[in-house]
Structure formats: structure tokens, C-alpha cells
């Protein structure tokens, strides 16, 4: 049986927790691309989201990759990190990358 879908990204819960957005500080946060439900636990500890709950279906992967690259990270590094916890289904989201 598949887990119950959670239709919000980590950012949704991060906002509810009133955290300062880590992307302002050019931290490699995967919150916008990641399914929430964890309560934005890592950003709430001042740590970037590593994407461990898998892809958020509404994530704008293309734009977020560009943003992360503008922080000085290579495309290869970005894709590798997204794939760490993305599972097989992440391939649907990053097919163009």
C-alpha cells in the first residue's frame, strides 16, 4: 500500500514554523522540491533539507536547480544530492537534467 500523499512541500511547514528561509543565506536547501510531512525538521534546526521524504510533485525542479547553481554548486552536485533520497521516481522529475 502506498503512503498517504502529502500535497505540500517542506517549505509549507517551514513557513508555519516561522523559520528564516535558508535560501536567503545561499544554503543548499531542497525544501521546495521535497514532500513535507516531517514538520520541516531540518530547517527548524538551522540545517538545509536533504530531501529525505522524496519529491514534492509540484516542485519546480528546473528553476530550483538554476538557483542552487547560482550559489556556486555544479549541476552534477545538485543532481547527485537530489537523487540521494529521491528513489527511482525522482527520474520522472529530473528527466531533462
Amino acid at each position: 500500500m502506498a503512503p498517504e500523499p502529502y500535497p505540500h512541500p517542506v517549505c509549507h511547514e517551514c513557513k508555519l514554523n516561522e523559520n528564516r528561509c535558508l535560501l536567503h543565506d545561499k544554503k543548499f536547501c531542497l525544501g521546495p522540491l521535497t514532500a513535507g510531512g516531517c514538520g520541516a525538521v531540518c530547517p527548524s534546526h538551522g540545517l538545509p533539507c536533504v530531501g529525505c521524504w522524496g519529491p514534492n510533485p509540484d516542485g519546480n525542479f528546473k528553476e530550483h536547480f538554476k538557483l542552487l547553481e547560482s550559489f556556486g554548486m555544479t549541476r552534477e552536485d545538485v543532481v547527485r544530492r537530489v537523487r540521494n533520497f529521491g528513489g527511482h521516481k525522482i527520474l520522472e522529475y529530473i528527466a531533462d537534467e
Binding site: H45, V50, C52
Partner: protein
């Protein structure tokens, strides 16, 4: 010639999917296999080409029960590799986190997985009919361990809060004080458990001599980490030499590797620690060990359950003293890495025994990793004890319920089967 098999599958009340297969020919044990059926986990290859930060979020996924031990072992290895020296205050916070995990894991094992066997119940729920207070308090103790893990780890399981060089966020003074007072409240129950255990009759049919190994703490007290291993032959080995001390091999019936020391099986875990480091204990923990200890501990793995009860006392007292130490320190800053390449071996004592993580980093990426879990160390010893038990039970003619006796031996070690299934050989290029 009559040939029969005793097969326990699945082995219940342990973590993961395993089984026991004992073959008997006439009245002789011809084969004993502790079968690890969990699929291989491949972690040593999963981290290749990744940064230390990624390693630290991937590797604790080896285990949900002792995820913080895996985190801690990786932190110790990676910080050595990257030449990071954390301040004393960070060490205190890490102690706190580790004590929480020991309490969480030991209380789960002792009361819920092991004790029902001793009292003749199938599980702790049945046991609650006669031992309601014990089961209720055991749940409180387990919950407290989880609370400490959640506070320091960041969430119940796989928290990302411990990072290279420090912590993302430190708990408030109020939280620390409330953890301290909860530890004080639970200490009487941990001591009551010592009394309860002292009344138990412990089977002796498996007794044989074995070897023990644990980490040697870098100070004069009892602890759960170190940069050297102590072995029961009185020797001391630097952790960097772990591959010569803990010699691994692959066997056909198990997805976990097997280990020997000096070519023979050995034990790790609470029993090994209390036997090798017990004279370093202080306070109630020292009294608890004195009350329970007997020379049989050296020959009988069922006393691992007793040793866990002693460590519960030690860790509750440890939480009280660690909170006091933390409150006397300035909040530590996160220490950045001094370099991006290097090699490091980190060893800690996970609840069920010695855990070794080894990394080699080049240009900020992992090029080699090796993990040896406690279960991969003591599986040979479980088989040896089951064989001895089978021989003795056949000699005594006590063959009514050999399955349960074998299960109790395996369970006493609190094996973590999912952790242990690492059948990957990583070749250096």
C-alpha cells in the same frame, strides 16, 4: 542413523529477518547456522563520490534503533579525516545523545524482547498481566530514551541535528533541566530492575569460554566510545588497526559478514563492556554490577541482559551528570573542516556492541567506506553458543523445547539484523 533439523524461522523478537537452523545426526550436533536473510544494504557503495555531509545523512539510515550510534561513529571518523577538533562542550552534548540511545535500545530489548522468555510469556503484553508496573515503567523508560534522542538528534529517527563539528541547534536550558529531572525520576525503576533480575534463574546449558572486545574510553571512567579496542586477553589495539583485529569473512548462509578475533568467535555489547570496563563504574551503577555479577558472566551470554540493566543505571546517572556538565559550558560553535582529504576510523559502542566506521576522502568526496556493525562481529559467537547448548541439552536429555533455548541465546545479544547485512566488497582503485 537419524537425522533431524531444528529450524526457527523467522526468529521473533529481534530486529530484522533472520533464522536459526540446527542439524542433529543421532545425538550429535552437526551444523549450526544463524541465517541472516535480510537483503544486502550496499551502504559502503552508496556513499562513494559523495560529500561528508551527505554521508552523514545517508549512513544513519543503516538502523532506525541506533541511528545516532551510526551518526556518531561516522562523525568521529569523518572529523578525524577532515582534522576537526570539537570543543569539550560538543562532546558533552554528544554524550547526552548517546546515553539517550543506550536507554532507548536497552529498555526495548531487556523488557520487551528478552524478559518475556525468562518469565514464560510470549510477549510483553502477556507479561503485563503479572508484571503490569514493570511493563508500564519500561515504556516510560523507553519513551524517555526516545525523548533524549529526539532532543539531540532533531527528530525521533534519523535526525539531522548532529553535524560535522557540532550541532545545528542546541536544546534550551529548560529542556535540559526537564530531561535531568526525568532521569532522576526513572532511576529508582532502573534500580528496581536490578533487584528483579537478581531473582531470575538463568539457564546454564550453553556455557563456554569466549572472548570479549569493546572500545577503551579515552578517560578513566566507563563510556561508549574510544580510539582503541580492549580485548579480554588483556591487549589494547588502536582503532586504525581494526582490520587486523576484527577479521571479516563471507559465509554462504548469511547476508551479514562474519568476524573473528585471533581466529575465534568473540562477543561485543553490554556484557563485553561491563566485563572489560566494569571496574570503572561509579555510584549506583557500580553497586548494580556488584549486586548482579557472578563469574558465570564470562561464559554465559544470557547475562548480557543483566549487563544492559547495569548500563541503564549508568546512562541515567550519566544523563544527570552530563546535563550538569553541559550547563556549566558556553554553547559550542560548529567547527569547520581544516582540510578536504584524509582518512579516519571512528569507533563507538552502539547499544549492542562495537561499531566501526572508516572513510577515505579525496577532494571533499568519499572514495572508500567500510562499516562493521556489532551484529556482524558476534554472529559467530551466537552459533558457537547454540552449538554448545545443543550438545549439552542432548547430553542432559532436555530436548523438549530446544528451539526456545536457542532463541534465547540469539536474542540475548540483541542482534540488529538489518544493520548487519553488508555484503559489499568495495575495491580500491
Amino acid at each position: 542413523m537419524t537425522r533431524r533439523e531444528i529450524k526457527v524461522e523467522p526468529l521473533a523478537r529481534v530486529e530484522g529477518h533472520g533464522g536459526i537452523l540446527v542439524e542433529i545426526e543421532d545425538d550429535t550436533i552437526v551444523d549450526v547456522k544463524v541465517r541472516i536473510l535480510e537483503g544486502p544494504r550496499l551502504f559502503e557503495t552508496l556513499v562513494i563520490g559523495k560529500t561528508p555531509e551527505e554521508d552523514l545523512s545517508i549512513v544513519p539510515r543503516i538502523c532506525a534503533i541506533c541511528n545516532l550510534s551510526h551518526k556518531y561513529a561516522s562523525l568521529r571518523a569523518l572529523e578525524k579525516a577532515l582534522d576537526i577538533e570539537v570543543p569539550e562542550a560538543t562532546d558533552h552534548y554528544r554524550h547526552l545523545m548517546h546515553h539517550g540511545e543506550i536507554i532507548e535500545s536497552h529498555s526495548l530489548h531487556l523488557y520487551f524482547l528478552a524478559l518475556p522468555d525468562f518469565f514464560g510469556y510470549d510477549n510483553a503484553v502477556q507479561m503485563a498481566e503479572r508484571f503490569g508496573d514493570v511493563v508500564t515503567n519500561a515504556l516510560r523508560l523507553k519513551k524517555f530514551g526516545n525523548r533524549v534522542m529526539r532532543t539531540m538528534g532533531g527528530r525521533m529517527i534519523h535526525g539531522e541535528n548532529p553535524v560535522l563539528g557540532g550541532f545545528g541547534k542546541l536544546p534550551s536550558r529548560e529542556t535540559l533541566l526537564s530531561i535531568r529531572s526525568e532521569a532522576e525520576e526513572l532511576l529508582p525503576f532502573a534500580l528496581q530492575t536490578i533487584e528483579l533480575l537478581s531473582t531470575l534463574e538463568v539457564p546454564d546449558h550453553m556455557e563456554r569460554d569466549t572472548q570479549f572486545l569493546c572500545c577503551k574510553p579515552p578517560h578513566s571512567g566507563y563510556d561508549y566510545f574510544g580510539d582503541a579496542f580492549l580485548t579480554s586477553d588483556g591487549k589494547e589495539h588502536p582503532t586504525e588497526h581494526y582490520q587486523q583485529v576484527i577479521v571479516e569473512r563471507v559465509v554462504g548462509h548469511s547476508f551479514a559478514k562474519r568476524s573473528t578475533y585471533n581466529g575465534k568467535p568473540f562477543s561485543v555489547g553490554a556484557l563485553a563492556r561491563t566485563l572489560l570496563l566494569g571496574d570503572r563504574l561509579e555510584g549506583h551503577a557500580k553497586d548494580a554490577l556488584n549486586d548482579l555479577y557472578s563469574p558465570q558472566w564470562h561464559r554465559n551470554p544470557l547475562y548480557n541482559n543483566f549487563a544492559q540493566a547495569v548500563e541503564q543505571v549508568f546512562s541515567l546517572e550519566g544523563i544527570i551528570s552530563t546535563v550538569d556538565a553541559v550547563l556549566g559550558c558556553e554553547p559550542p560553535e560548529v567547527v569547520p573542516p581544516a582540510r578536504d582529504s584524509g582518512t579516519g576510523v571512528g569507533a563507538v559502542e552502539a547499544p549492542r556492541g562495537t561499531l566501526v566506521h572508516h572513510y577515505e576522502l579525496k577532494g571533499g568526496k568519499t572514495v572508500f567506506a567500510n562499516y562493521i556493525t556489532p551484529t556482524a562481529m558476534f554472529l559467530d559467537d551466537i552459533e558457537a553458543f547454540i552449538r554448545r547448548s545443543g550438545e549439552e541439552l542432548l547430553t542432559r536429555g532436555e530436548t523438549d523445547n530446544m528451539e526456545l533455548q536457542f532463541e534465547m541465546i540469539a536474542r540475548a545479544y540483541d542482534p540488529c539484523i538489518s544493520c548487519s547485512a553488508h555484503l559489499v566488497t568495495v575495491r580500491r582503485r
